[in-house]
Symmetry: C2
Subunit: 302 residues, 2 copies
């Protein structure tokens, strides 16, 4: 690519722990870049230089539009993009402009969604949902977006009607690396049978979760249970507990799972074992599709 | 106290994070000492000097018996004291002698208990249970020992018949200090009403635990919920989940709760709200009573 010659705008996914950027040209990805400079730990004055260090090769003397989604719009982010209240079409608010800084950037941040009763929030997933709906027009059903904080969103007529959050990914990370169970759990590896055991234990007696967790440690001490299996069992327990908690959301619904490959397969398998098949969509692809939607509507309104 | 003049033996409670010692004389506590030198992080050759640095003022040229309970008897401890299998009277195995080191010490470590089906283990709590039974002869029922890993033990005719472990204390610590919820939770403070709300939410719909946790964060972001209340609510949620998981243990049983003052009161209150009153006993006092029992039987057998 010639320096800056072809870039119409820049799509940015800026989460808690990761920053990704795509140089967009004629509606297609011309180049991409990423770093570990998530918004966590960045003070407000560090966002612009951090982004510049990643995308500077794509810029020209003219102002290049930047559309960003994710935690970058939080109160502690680059600019606060106030939550929109469900039920609402995702991306229906105009992205919030970042106060002028470097003249080569004209940056906008997408608003997250909030729910009043029961209280809940999302930032970033609304863009993936909008991308999924752009690629699957007229799709109604429930979308599961597994991650550090898994979101379950009920979608109808293009709107997010309601949603809820489970801390499954964060719980798994804490338990498998910070708790006493960490001594009994491999940091990688898998055992599909143990994953299904965990799912079954959690789903058959979800109220017993509190007593199941320590069994991972006891089975290691008393039975030298393999640590890859323990990893899969813990994941099964926690995803099973999540499915038990969200049963009213997914039972009998049209289902989609949006996420990274590995975790998406685990959720889809877990749902399938409950007789609830789900379509799978790649999170990065949905994010980009959503950012393209946001840029399109921004061009119409700005 | 004159240097070493009156000490018959030394009682030691050596857990993961704390070391406590009592100088015993004529069946009474003559002096006590404690440090943060828990067994975690100590290599095997560091146990003796660590204990000596705490109890040296109590020693004479003659050998002083030491009886220790807790994680000090784990595989990575001072000496491994193999688990005894339930059903069994706690302390029915002779404490395991530590190989001779400093001639001023003659140390013994109490064995923990294990259960084969479902697999579970305890180290330290068996001594508290023995102490409780020594002080309450012929007591039958269920003993709850809240802590980092809460134990529930079914006791009958002086034996521990079965038991189970919940990671409630460790989960609370991880969630309130390491997770995203930490931003919304005070590190101290309490709200009795919010504690009861958490209990009720967990006990009425225990299968929904996975979706309740994140509400602590959402309520802070959307409603500026007070952080002391969030602390009490999370505690209520997790203790409620534990009571839901252990209902078959405590329902309709004679109940005792052994622990430190604050946590014991929370558990007793939670049980009481479920119509299950419990007697309360102080953990340190039960530990010491159990160590005295162990020393008594050791004198008879050695």
């Amino acid at each position: 690519m010639q320096r800056g010659s072809l870039v119409d705008w820049i799509a940015v996914d800026w989460g808690t722990s990761r920053l990704r950027a795509w140089a967009m040209s004629d509606g297609k990805v011309h180049a991409q870049a990423e770093s570990d400079d998530g918004m966590r730990g960045l003070t407000r004055d560090r966002f612009e230089p951090t982004l510049l260090s990643l995308v500077e090769p794509w810029l020209t003397a003219q102002s290049t539009p930047v559309v960003a989604c994710g935690m970058v719009g939080a109160r502690q982010g680059w600019v606060e993009a106030p939550y929109q209240t469900v039920p609402i079409k995702p991306l229906s608010a105009t992205p919030v402009p970042v106060p002028q800084g470097d003249p080569r950037l004209a940056a906008y941040v997408i608003a997250g969604l909030k729910q009043t009763t029961p209280p809940d929030v999302m930032r970033g997933e609304e863009t993936q949902i909008a991308g999924f709906l752009a690629l699957n027009p007229n799709w109604d059903g429930v979308i599961c977006l597994p991650g550090t904080h898994t979101k379950w969103a009920q979608v109808s007529a293009g709107e997010v009607v309601s949603f809820q959050t489970c801390m499954t990914g964060e719980l798994f990370a804490l338990l498998s690396t910070q708790s006493v169970l960490s001594h009994s759990i491999a940091q990688k590896g898998w055992d599909a049978g143990k994953f299904e055991d965990g799912l079954a234990d959690a789903l058959s007696r979800p109220e017993r979760l509190a007593t199941r967790l320590f069994s991972v440690r006891s089975r290691d001490l008393l039975e030298a249970a393999p640590k890859e299996g323990a990893r899969a069992y813990l994941s099964g327990l926690l995803i099973g507990a999540e499915l038990a908690a969200t049963r009213a959301y997914w039972l009998g619904q049209n289902l989609a799972v949006i996420g990274s490959r590995e975790v998406t397969e685990h959720y889809a398998q877990a749902l399938s074992l409950q007789g609830a098949p789900a379509v799978i969509a790649d999170a990065d692809r949905m994010t980009l599709a959503g950012l393209i939607e946001a840029y399109r509507s921004l061009k119409e309104t700005v």
